[in-house]
Symmetry: C2
Subunit: 319 residues, 2 copies
């Protein structure tokens, strides 16, 4: 499925490069290779899964349009992928979402439907709209075609690692629901079995790290209150978790401050813009060196959708 | 020479992608394609020319080492290219250069020789060291192998434009001494004759724009005092100017404020870090739309070596 998704993505997705810097290597104590998916369309890897899911739909079904619940990177990925397919998209967002996020999602061509978090259910709104208009729901991570799309990032990592002569390394992946992590893990299993995916999460939201230890899906106590908002989810998925449990190495956990510092180093040394959640894997490479094995480590920067005030906080860690 | 340089650069240079964003297109009034050389090794295109020049040297000559005068992007490009060739490099820098630039140049493996701008001549120091140690001078722009190296960026632009179906467009190039501009112009002449290079400079430092009008090499009155420091040079070169005069469209001129705003948009929409001089071409695409022709425009982001306080100034233009 990942290879089929890769064929469908050809000519539409950006093949992001693999970056490195000797300055970052010095901090990490090994060679660090960075896959900057912040350079992907809409500023995150989510476009891969959205394109994969949309392009896999029956054209007759797709024509009626798609729907997603998200105020974040998945919303933008689905909106743009729908626009590029020439079909309508509806994104259901909380009414208190930042105006910029609402405007951006609209600018990618989506119809934004706002709901009141306290009095309305987004599922009910979504079910009603889907029925009325024949919209297909695109889930953010626990959906095979979405996982297959994210897995194309893993195919690229496998090929780029081979080019660099890297046969054995940890591949650290910023992990929310596990769509990117499980997709990459599957791709590596097939194309680069010496590479091992490892999820990274923020402190207090380490459900996947705990799940990998306990062998069952654990939940987070909180579902908000961390700057790494892009990778905060209540729990991993019924499809994503078993893949991660079978293939991934132990989870890593980083602090908000470490995410900010990693954003600063990505600015200073790699010249890319990472959002806090997107910088989690780089933070793990820089600040969890004793928990990583080998001479090389590969990290994803999963997204770069960060506003200026938060980025200034990251820049302030450099001094 | 550009094709030969391209072969020598194979496997050593980063092939930077071509980025775009519908948000930027909307401001510019046409499709804008961005070549982010800030993602190149050492954070600027200068690595291309440095590698080209070093790799073209006779191995016996190269073994003794190379020397450059620069406190900026050329210094870092030469230092890293020398390190990767396993040969020594000496960079002659003013003693009052920012400590970070000195440290970075050293970290790339160079021996930094500091001189007093008021009482010493860098040329004399350079001549003495070159004679004593047999070092070869790598000039920043007016040197055929350096121009050939920068031209490899033009070969990539030509190929990437063809992939996107772009047959006719202005290619706006951030221009100091004209190494990148002339190299790209030559590459486009060969591989994409419908694309036309156009230099962009900051207000008050528009010697190339004036030279293209008058037909002879003009000088700038000032040689400092602009945030676009990477593209401030007294005048273009005896080799670069005739190439630009034969091949380039009219020069463009942008303000410091426009460079900062373009940096902000590059952050917000492309997720890359541009330095002020590196953002000049994007600024021209955004704010000189009446001086540009066609449905598409291609711009270089020539470098991303900017410190946090200056970047914060750019972020502040977004609000």
């Amino acid at each position: 499925m990942i290879r089929a998704a890769n064929t469908r993505l050809e000519g539409h997705v950006r093949r992001t490069p693999l970056l490195n810097s000797s300055f970052i290597d010095d901090i990490a104590g090994r060679r660090v290779w960075v896959k900057p998916e912040c350079l992907q369309h809409t500023g995150s890897f989510k476009f891969r899964g959205a394109w994969s899911a949309l392009s896999a739909l029956d054209p007759e079904v797709r024509k009626s349009g798609v729907i997603a619940f998200s105020s974040g990177n998945h919303a933008q990925g689905v909106a743009l992928a729908a626009k590029m397919h020439g079909v309508p998209s509806v994104i259901v967002m909380p009414a208190d979402s930042p105006v910029l996020k609402i405007e951006n999602t609209r600018a990618y061509g989506a119809e934004v439907v706002l709901y009141d978090r306290d009095t309305e259910s987004r599922e009910e709104i979504g079910a009603r709209l889907s029925e009325e208009r024949g919209l297909t729901l695109i889930k953010p991570f626990d959906e095979p075609q979405v996982i297959a799309g994210q897995g194309t990032c893993g195919l690229e990592i496998a090929a780029q690692a081979t080019e660099q002569g890297i046969e054995k390394a940890d591949v650290i992946v910023c992990c929310g629901g596990g769509g990117l992590t499980s997709g990459i893990a599957l791709a590596l299993e097939a194309d680069a079995p010496g590479l091992r995916a490892r999820p990274v999460e923020p402190e207090g939201f380490d459900d996947v790290a705990r799940s990998l230890r306990s062998g069952e899906i654990e939940r987070n106590k909180k579902t908000s209150g961390n700057i790494c908002d892009a990778i905060i989810t209540p729990q991993s998925g019924d499809i994503t978790f078993p893949i991660m449990y079978r293939l991934c190495g132990p989870g890593l956990v980083i602090s908000e401050q470490e995410a900010l510092q990693a954003m600063g180093h990505a600015f200073n040394r790699l010249k890319v813009v990472a959002e806090p959640g997107g910088a989690a894997a780089l933070a793990a490479a820089l600040y969890r060196r004793d928990q990583i094995e080998g001479d090389d480590v590969i990290v994803t920067i999963s997204g770069g959708n960060v506003d200026a005030p938060m980025f200034i906080r990251a820049l302030e860690t450099l001094t």
